[in-house]
Symmetry: C2
Subunit: 282 residues, 2 copies
DNA sequence: AGCGGCGATACCTCCCCGGTATCGGACCAG
DNA sequence: CTGGTCCGATACCGGGGAGGTATCGCCGCT
């Protein structure tokens, strides 16, 4: 199976429409139709059911969509990492580390310092990205190693090492009645009147339904809370950056947030290994 | 990057010889040389250093070899799993479960029974394979789920669920001086005079250096021990099949062997999920 | 110098990929 | 029922690229 065929199939399977898929791929529709037919013939499997009401996936088609996306990510990763390895002038390519913007400030700084102090350390590019993007970046080779936060991020398919565990706190506007309590429970803060939990965007940029205000990043969120328009449950490390107008109260029974360092399991990069080792020694 | 180019490169990188690689690929040497050059041009990276003393990998080449092998496995997996999904007459494809021959008899039987009793259970093909092959079968799609034994098998890159933990015993010929001891330590059995540990074949069929007799499977090993030619440290479940001429003694400080069920992290197969659930309920 | 091993180059052929034009069936409006 | 529209399939053509054979160029060895 050729990469080209796989890309074509995935495009059609995602669009469920030959014309739009062809447009997205930058080719005409007839060669796309032919390529898919040929793929189906070679696999001996019907992948798409062409009905009068458009195209649907068969059982085999769903399997190929899922597995094919993973395979295409692996190929992209191979290409990207090779390119990066090649353009390193020293012969020792740098490492791309990705983490959520604003989430891991202090830990990240300590990690970078500790690693930089090691003999043979190479350049570390730090990439900050939105929520849920890290896994994709690690999978398709745009990053080599990531700081993830369980249970929010899925670590499926990566090797990981735990770095730090912390409880969660509820962040409230100053003066809220719950202020001053030593701790609260999830049930106390699940639905505070007038202070809904914010909604974060999905990966495709849309927002889930709900009452809370849509937010894109930490700063927006904290500002909304200070204005008395929202509340949020966040890892207790938010206390490291105190802010006027905000109060935090520990939530006793909120799930523990674990910061882990994650990397692709087949990675044999010396730099990634050294970075992980430095991280575990923190 | 096309699958064909990647396969060509991996062949050359493994053989470190254009002529042999071409032979293995079933093509002539010149088109292979050209394909590799073209790949290097497109990636903008020197992958191979052509010296007068043959071919060696550059830094970028090693990266592409490793990442490329993973990507090719992912593509093979996509193809195999799609084929299997298609040829299922019911529209509900069967599952291929792989485990080491002879290692997990009773647990496997219970698992298959428990799963078969569930509503909506599909056919489970059981594949038995040699040591260390399971990971590859799971990775390239010839199997969908595996029973692995930590710490012998690596579970890197798979989702896992622990099923069973057990200690290890040393297996000795009947009448050996250590027989009758309630337990022994690793240092007691590390090098028993006249009873060397056996050597298992590597993945390529060669044997590591050492004193012990080469063995290919459990039966051979137990027979050699009964003959007084070897000893071995094995999970305590070997006691489930008692055998004349053999005695087992627990090894107090041997690493615990954990049986886990493992599957590819992106699997969304209902059947695999149900199988895992049945396994955790055992 | 001669030879052998090995990768690169030159040149040819044919297949396959992509393009345009067109067809054929399903659904819809009237 | 008929014309129109939407959409995937088919027909046909041209060019690029994949693979083959023959040969070269370089290096190391005897």
């Amino acid at each position: 199976m050729e990469t080209r065929e796989l890309r074509y199939f995935v495009a059609v399977a995602e669009e469920l429409h030959f014309g739009r898929a062809a447009q997205r791929l930058g080719i005409a529709q007839p060669p796309l139709s032919r390529a898919i037919q040929q793929l189906e013939r070679r696999l001996g499997a019907a992948l798409l059911a062409r009905g009068s009401r458009g195209v649907t996936l068969t059982e085999a088609g769903s399997v190929l969509l899922r597995e094919g996306q993973a395979a295409l990510d692996a190929i992209d990763a191979a290409e990207r990492r090779t390119r990066r390895a090649a353009l390193a002038p020293t012969g020792r390519p740098g490492v791309v580390l990705v983490t959520k913007a604003g989430a891991t400030g202090e830990l990240l700084a300590k990690l970078l310092d500790a690693y930089a102090a090691e003999p043979g350390a190479v350049a570390v590019d730090v990439m900050l990205c939105g929520i849920g993007e890290q896994e994709r970046l690690l999978r398709d080779g745009r990053a080599d190693v990531a700081l993830l936060h369980r249970p929010f991020d899925s670590t499926a398919g990566f090797d990981t090492e735990e770095l730090h565990a912390e409880g969660q706190v509820v962040v409230l506007p100053a003066g809220h009645p719950l202020t001053g309590r030593a701790h609260v429970r999830m049930s106390d803060v699940a639905a505070l009147p007038g202070l809904p939990m914010p909604r974060w965007p999905n990966l495709d940029g849309t927002f889930p339904d709900g009452a809370g205000p849509p937010v894109h990043n930490h700063t927006q969120l904290l500002q909304l809370i200070a204005l008395g328009r929202a509340s949020a449950i966040l890892p207790e490390s938010v206390r490291a950056e105190p802010r006027d107008g905000l109060v935090t109260v520990p939530v006793a029974d909120a799930p523990t947030v674990t910061t882990v360092i994650a990397w692709p399991p087949h990675s044999r990069s010396r730099a990634v290994a050294a970075l992980v080792q430095a991280a575990t020694r923190l």
